[in-house]
Every structure is written in C-alpha cells, then in structure tokens.
Amino acid sequence: MILTRRRILAASATTLAMPYVARAQQASITLAAYSGIFQDNYEPAVVETFRRANPGIKVTYFSMGNSAQALGQLRAQKANPQVDLVMMDVSVAKAASDEGLFEPVTAAQVPAIADLSPRAFTPGVTAPAVTFDNLVLLYSPQRVQPAPTSWKVFWEEKYKDQIAISGVPDIVGLGFLMMANKVFGGDDYRRLDKGFEAVGNMAPNVLSWDPKPDAYTMITQGTASLGVGWNARGQIYSDQSGGRMAAILPSEGALFQINVLGLVKGAKNYDASRAFMNHALGAEAQAAFTEKMFYAPVNTKAKVSDAALARTASSAERQAMMLPVDWLEVAKFREGVTEQWRRRILTRR
C-alpha cells in the first residue's frame, strides 16, 4: 500500500474517532445513594454485580449523606437532572413524588416489580421500596445486665445518664415515641398521649437526644449504654464492635422503615436506569445485599440464608410484631409532635 497524504489522514481520523464510537454505545447512569457503610456494602453486593453483567452500562455511585440532601439535588437539577436513580427514605420520597420529580415505573418496564412484597408500594409515592429496615434496641452487653428483652429497660433508674437516642423530629425519635406509646398502653400510634407521658418520665435520665456521631458509636465507645437505632446498621456495627455493642428486637416488637429507589424524571438514560432498577430489585441482588448488611429484602423471591434472615425482621412472625406505621400519616402530625416534644420532653431535666 502506498502511503498517500489522504490515506494517512483518513486512517488517523478513524483512529481518533474510535473511542467516541465505543463510548456512544456505552450508556452511563448515576445512582445517588447513602454514603459510608451503606456504600461499602451496596457497591460490591449490587452495583459491582450489575457492572459485571452489563459491561455496556457505566454506573457511577454518587454518595449522599441523607435523604434530604438527595431531595435537594433533585430540586436543584429539576431542569437538567445529573442523577438517574436515587435512593431515599419513603417520607422524603413522598415530597419528591408530590413535586413530580420521579418518573413512574411499571412491571412491564421493570419485571422485578412483579415479585415485590405488597408493602413495597406506598400510595402516593411513585417509587418502589428497595430495602426494609426496622427499629432496634442497642445496648452494651458489658454494662446492661441481664440482656434487655423489653423497651421498658429505658425506664430503669440504674441507666440514668447512659441513654442516647436521636430525639424527635428525627424518625428514630418518632419511632421510639410510638413504641413507648404502645408499650405503656396506647393502642393507636396517631394518639401519642401515653407515649409522651412515659418518655417525659424517662427524659431526665437521657444523656443525649442528639448522639454524635451516632448512638452505635457512643455505645461502642462506652459513653452511653443504651440507645435506639436501625437493624441493618446495628447488626453491622455490633459485628465490628467486638462485642461492645449489641442490637436486639425487643419482645414488644418495633416498626419498619422503608427506603425507595426512584427513577428521576427527565434523566438521560431511562432504559439503562430501568435495567439497573430491575437488577437492584431482583431476587439475586436483594439476597446478596441482605447477606451483607441485613436489610430485609423487598423481593419475595430472594433466597437468603437462615443465618442472615434471623438477623432481619422479615420472617412472618417478626413482621406480625411490627407496629403498622404509615409514615405518610406520620408526616401529617409530625409538626404537632415536634412542638409537644419540645414542650413536654425537652423541658424535663
């Protein structure tokens, strides 16, 4: 072949264009989800397996501190979303749904949706659940003896100044108040008088209503001995604490928290995003994440080992122990509860 100027130019033009041709075939999506220990476990269990199965789709994990921050991103980028999929608490997702920030998804587009538990769908929220979690009692096995089995341990005088609970308006505080209401005779979580009275009586014994960095760490370090937290993190941190912190589901039960996975309206790549959603909600990824971090699976077909399942609240009998709280209902009276909390709980010294 004779090298002519034209041939050289043509050849170099093709070579230069190659990466762009390849890139055009590769879709790219961004998933916004929680940072820290959640990301450490979600990346290998769910995102990495999706990357291996779909080399043509590039997934970027954009870490967020909390749901409100995620909502802030969606609001700011409404005209030109940079995030395709977002994970957030169901009550925050309600606000996002009301503002039309999510594109609804159907089982026709995302087949895994057909296998989800009925509890995965919340009326008025245009995003399916991706994880179930539940409130747990955290304690120090060294300093709290015998091991607690009831929420009533918080009312024992000997644990004065050893209790750390995130107070209202945080949902841990709301959950604790609703559980106290139930334990002390209230039969409806929408009427919390019994709960307020009970929590008011133990309030002077509370060391902090705003544990920093969190209740798990305060107990592990020995600053506090009793606390309230979420099961998934409680299980992971208790493993990491070397026996200095344990998480249990008390005999009176607890309540569920739901994270949803939403498709952002106006996102660049609906098809690739739906493919990821199908993977994340699918039986395999759900089981893998439960094995790693003990969130209860939302997919009813997820095959989880007995050992992992025992550390979640997904068994039928444990589900029956849960207070059936509708978080959207809670959102309606949360402001009133916050006001009462300040007047009736925080004034108690």
Binding site: E99, P169, S208
Partner: protein, 279 residues
C-alpha cells in the same frame, strides 16, 4: 468621572461580580424561598405566600428561639472577652521578641478543626472526663452534667472563639501606651483607677471589634451547639438544620436564615454607631 474614580471602579468590579454571583444571588433565592409554602410532607407548593412568615411571627417558639440564641451568643461573647482580655493585654505588653511567638501560641488552636476541638470538650466535660473525676475526688457523689446542655455549648464555644477575640483585641490595642499608664500612676492613680480611666477607654475599639466578631460567630455557630447541645439547646443555626434536613420545611429554614441576616445587620449597625461614638 475623574480617571482615579474610574480606575477604582474597574478594580472593584471583579470582587463585585463575584459577590453578586456567590452571595447576593443565593441570598435572593433564599429570600424568595421563604415566601413559598411546603405541605406537611415537605413538598414545595406552587405560588407565593406570606404563610411561613405569618406562622413564624405568630408562634411564640420562634420568638423564644431568637431570644435564646441572642442571649446565649451574648453570654458567650462576654465570657470570651473576660477570658481573652488579660491574655491580649499580656501579649501587648510582652517584649517584641516574645510577642510573635505568643500570638502564634494563641491562634494555634485554629490549626485544629472546630469539630475536633468540640469532640475534645465532649471528653473533658463528660462523665468520665477530668473535671468530673476532680469533682468526685473532692467528694461530690454525682458530678453535675456539664455536656449535652447549655453549659457544654457555652464552655465549648467560648474556647473556640477565644483566638478570634485575642487577635481582634491585639489589633485594637494600638493606642495603648505604657507611658500613659506610668503617667497616671505617677499622678497618684491606684492600679484599678489606671485600668478604669486609662487602659479600658484606650482599648475600647479592640473590645468592640472583638465582641462584634465573637457575637456574629456565636449566633451563627452550628457544629459546636449541635455536638455539645445534646438535642436540648435550640439555637437559630441548629433549628435551620432541623427544618432543612429533618422536617424538610425549606421555607421555614429560609425565613430563619433571613432572620439571622437581620440580626447580623443589627449587630453591625450597633457596632458602627458605638465605634463612631467612641471615636
């Protein structure tokens, strides 16, 4: 327009533009947000309304919040001044070769982030800390709680603001001259009279500057009250965080931010008036 003014204007322009883009525009946005309304779940509703402001003026909680924030910030400012003034005076009178080292020592805490120092106070003031241990050694059965309440916040913020106060005081001590004190003493003034009639008036500009700085920093402080308040201390900044991040009521958070700005405005105006009166 004379050429000098034009050059001055041209030199000001970049700073002006940057300020417009990163300060005035977002502030305008914030002001606008305070006229929106959120539904009970936190979703922003369409349209402009005075409802958020009406609620804030109608609810005694917000009036108390502003009062408490200002009172606590003033208390912290006063304590910071009391702790910093002797140090600043000592540094001012120190021989020149020591002065620089002493100043560096005073501001060296700024090399460590306020978060880390606040955690330090959590340990010191906590039940297992040295103060509680000392009180127990003295025979006290149960040391009073010194952290996760207002006491903790006041102690922590006072220490954190001291370097700023010391720097401001030293900067304002320019007119203080040892020979004036000696002159007063030679005319028969007792040490306290010298301090009251000579030192204090001459250091007033520094005191005012330091107090302005400490007050503004205290009233807007977030991380220290959040960590040391234990959820029991309500200040403007922590309430803005709760409204924006926890209850998702952005209009209330925006309105409270504007309130903080107004308090800054009052503090600056007061400072301006006092500074002129002193001069």
């Amino acid at each position: 327009m004379p050429i000098a003014s034009r050059i001055a204007l041209a030199l000001l322009l970049p700073a002006l533009l940057v300020n417009m883009a990163v300060f005035l525009l977002p502030m305008g946005n914030l002001a606008l947000l305070s006229f929106r309304q959120a539904n009970e779940g936190g979703a922003l509703l369409e349209g402009i309304t005075l409802a958020t402001w009406a609620k804030m003026f109608g609810d005694i909680f917000y009036a108390e919040l502003v009062r408490d924030s200002v009172v606590i910030a003033l208390a912290i400012t006063g304590l910071t001044l009391l702790c910093s003034y002797p140090i600043a005076l000592f540094i001012h009178r120190a021989p020149d070769r020591w002065k620089n080292m002493l100043v560096v020592m005073c501001i060296s805490p700024l090399l460590v982030s306020a978060v880390v120092r606040t955690y330090g106070w959590m340990v010191i003031l906590g039940d297992g800390g040295i103060i509680a241990a000392f009180l127990r050694w003295l025979g006290m059965v149960k040391a009073p709680r010194m952290v996760f309440n207002t006491t903790g916040v006041v102690v922590g913020l006072t220490e954190i603001l001291m370097p700023y106060m010391i720097l401001a005081l030293i900067a304002g001590f320019g007119r203080l001259n040892t020979s004036l004190e000696e002159a007063a003493a030679s005319l028969g003034a007792k040490p306290f009279t010298v301090f009251r009639r000579v030192v204090l008036p001459l250091t007033l500009p520094g005191i005012m500057l330091g107090c302005l700085l400490a007050f503004v920093l205290a009233v807007s402080s977030f991380i220290t009250p959040k960590l040391l308040g234990g959820g029991r201390v309500f200040l403007l900044a922590t309430e803005i965080y709760d409204q924006a991040i926890v209850t998702l009521n952005w209009p209330v958070a925006a309105a409270l931010s504007i309130v903080v700005l107004v308090i800054f405005g009052f503090a600056l105006t007061l400072y301006g008036r006092l500074a002129r009166a002193v001069a």
